[in-house]
């Protein structure tokens, strides 16, 4: 339990290629006590922790994002958790997302229009950031003019400036959190006054055993949507396009075999795992892989390590767009399985399909040094160059 060299905590520093670190952890210290949390890197342990929410809770003690009440449904565990998922899951099914796909396709093409003739773009700034945020505003029925404000808030909560370690995290995020609560208070008032075909109206209209969600419950759901639904798709787009820019053979396969796209997205989710880990807290003294974990300790199941564990994935370092089976855990698993997974898949599918239809060949601008962000794997800037059509 001493070989900690090579371990870099992604909560502290972003990593361009984390897979060797995952491997080193799995092989040397599969249950690793870092300053922030006990890190699990074997798929079997991770799966157990994700399923056994009574032992490894996802409650407010697992992570502090400045919120004053539990985020719903992430920070509520079963059995209470189920009542919220019964309301929210129907709003995010693959079928419901397919209904939104034509509008997202238009949006993606409008974004590509803005830079296609230029022969270069900052993919992160001009595509990966605004796409999921605009889709989110449309989905919730919020004014598109609020885009820039949302981006400031999202970063304020996820990447608070001047955050010196996690100890000060609450103070750093709390001011931003209050502004987010205030904004959604007004948005909820507006939707109560004039309901329409969007997710916020559907949540207001929903009933649990005859009872509507309270104002606070609605706010706690909206807050979670903002931090869970925006950054994660940005991260995925950044990771995927860096990979595809650097692996022309894989990119060409998408062009030659368009039907492989859904499976390619699953494989890129596995390999890149844009959300590399999740946060839990031990509810009792437990032992995992011979390592004692005390009640109250934070635990981090490292999804990226699960997704490259040879116990599940033969040849885990091979990126094979036709990989089958591919039981990756990029969206987690167990009761807290990512609510937005089908929204993310739809956005990624449309983005990859339309971008490659319009701009099949591109590369990272020569001389670029990519800087990955901590915690969630985006890049600070992704300059791409391509022939003008």
């Amino acid at each position: 339990m001493t070989d900690t060299e090579g371990y870099v905590d992604q909560m502290v520093a972003g990593i361009a290629e984390p897979q060797p670190m995952y491997k080193a952890l799995r092989e040397s210290t599969p249950v690793f006590r870092s300053p922030q949390a006990v890190v699990l890197s074997r798929l079997a342990d991770i799966e157990m922790a994700l399923k056994r929410t009574e032992l490894f809770s996802s409650n407010m003690d697992a992570v502090d994002l400045g919120n004053v009440r539990p985020l719903i449904p992430l920070q509520i565990d079963p059995p209470e958790h189920a009542k919220y998922r019964r309301i929210l899951d129907p709003l995010f099914t693959p079928r419901e997302m397919a209904r939104r796909e034509p509008r997202v396709t238009e949006l993606v093409n409008e974004m590509i229009d803005a830079f296609a003739d230029r022969g270069e773009c900052d993919f992160h700034e001009e595509f990966a950031v605004p796409l999921p945020c605009t889709v989110f505003l449309q989905l919730l029925g919020l004014p598109l003019e609020d885009l820039d404000q949302f981006l400031v808030w999202k970063d304020g909560v996820i990447r608070p400036e001047g955050a010196e370690g996690l100890a000060r995290r609450h103070e750093d995020s709390a001011d931003v959190a209050q502004q987010i609560y205030d904004y959604f208070e007004r948005a909820i008032d507006d939707h109560i006054a004039s309901p329409r075909d969007d997710v916020l109206s559907a949540m207001i209209a929903a009933r649990i055993e005859g009872q509507p969600l309270s104002r606070e419950e609605l706010l706690d759901i909206c807050f979670l949507f903002l931090i869970a639904g925006l950054d994660t798709v940005t991260d995925s787009l950044d990771c995927f396009f860096v990979y595809l820019a650097r692996h022309p053979d894989h990119r060409h396969q998408l062009l030659a075999q368009p039907d492989i796209l859904p499976s390619a997205i699953e494989e890129l989710l596995r390999w890149e795992t844009p959300v590399p880990g999740v946060a839990r807290v031990a509810m009792a003294d437990v032992e995992v892989g011979g390592c004692p974990i005390a009640k109250g300790e934070r635990v981090s199941p490292l999804l990226g390590a699960a997704n490259t564990d040879p116990a599940e994935f033969p040849d885990p370092d091979l990126v094979d767009f036709a990989r089958n089976p591919n039981r990756h855990r990029a969206f987690g698993g167990g009761p807290h399985r990512c609510l937005g997974s089908h929204l993310a898949r739809m956005e990624l599918r449309v983005a990859l399909r339309e971008f490659h239809r319009r701009i099949p060949d591109y590369e990272i601008k020569p001389g670029t040094r990519l800087t990955y962000t901590a915690a969630l794997r985006s890049v600070e800037s992704l300059p791409l160059v391509f022939p003008v059509p």
Partner: protein, 63 residues
């Protein structure tokens, strides 16, 4: 002939089954798995195996 069963307590709505094997599975109103064909043969058997092997929760059993 293969019998298809889903453990509803394990299913959390990843949706892999009805995406990969739409002839056998469908989504219920919350996006969880619904078995359309409880007994399958021939080409559908291969689909059933693909779905079972790709379920992240291991909720599908084939007998």
């Amino acid at each position: 002939m293969t019998r298809v069963a889903v453990d509803a307590d394990r299913c959390t709505g990843h949706g892999r089954c009805y995406t990969l094997a739409p002839g056998i599975f469908d989504a219920d109103e919350v996006g969880h798995c619904l078995v359309l064909a409880e007994e399958v043969a021939g080409e559908l058997e291969a689909q059933a195996h693909t779905a079972a092997q790709n379920c992240p929760e291991g909720a599908i059993t084939l007998t």
